[in-house]
Amino acid sequence: MVESTHETCEGLLGSLSDYIDGDLGAELCRQIEKHIAECEDCRIVVDTTRKTIDLVHASNDPQTGLPDDVRNRLYKRLNLDDYLKPSAK
């Protein structure tokens, strides 16, 4: 019979975010890994959720700067014109 909550698919789902973010203790991780080794549906949910987050990160380029015209108007609006140096990157 079921001992840990992570032996049910629903129980696993509840810890999915923490598991993917690496915020789960070793024992709980072990339980989840045991479950997904035997449950194909949950294995797919874990893998595709992880991939979903990876894609979000990959498609979101943090280096994307502010367009120059937006930046100029912002500095003018804030009366910071005199600090308007050419954008660094």
Binding site: L13, T48, T52, V56, N60, P62, L66, L74
Partner: protein, 202 residues
Amino acid sequence: MVETIIQDISIEALRNGDRAEFAQLVDAYSAPIYRLGLRMLGNEQDAEDVLQNTFLSALTHLPAFEGRSSVLTWLYRIAVNEALMILRRGKPEVNIDDTDSSDDNDQISPTQFVDWSALPEDELLSAEGKQALDTAIRNLPENLRMVFLLRDIQDLSIKDTADTLNLTEVNVKVRLLRARLLLREQLSYYYGERMKKEKSNG
């Protein structure tokens, strides 16, 4: 990246009205705030309004800033409120408050079990794939989208996300999970269809 810059900015100087320090703050955080506005509102004009209003409001309220949260969290909170004001112009029912958590207990059950996770990255992130992802994010219910944007796109911690939105950490976690599962459902449907098409094309 952003977090390393923060140490150079003196809250004390900001509060005393040091313009050079404020210019440095604007320089450090205008890009992430503009991106947040773009993601929240979906168009450049509104994102620019959010950006300008956020720093104007920051300028007004800096003397009262107590430094209990980080400057970035504080700026994000202003930006989120500015963005919500713009959103509410169109539809008054937008609500991200803790009190509106009636649906937070409903578990989202996955219905799509196509394994698309091993598809090559360039296929997943083709122009069309990126668009599907953007659409899926835009389609998230408002209260889930806010949490998702701050945590998974702006890269805030659970705690900072909670502080920014005035939610409990538990609430943030519940909403984050729901948002991620909803996105996963939509992407599974999209990539599942694509995998089917590829198969039938030979």
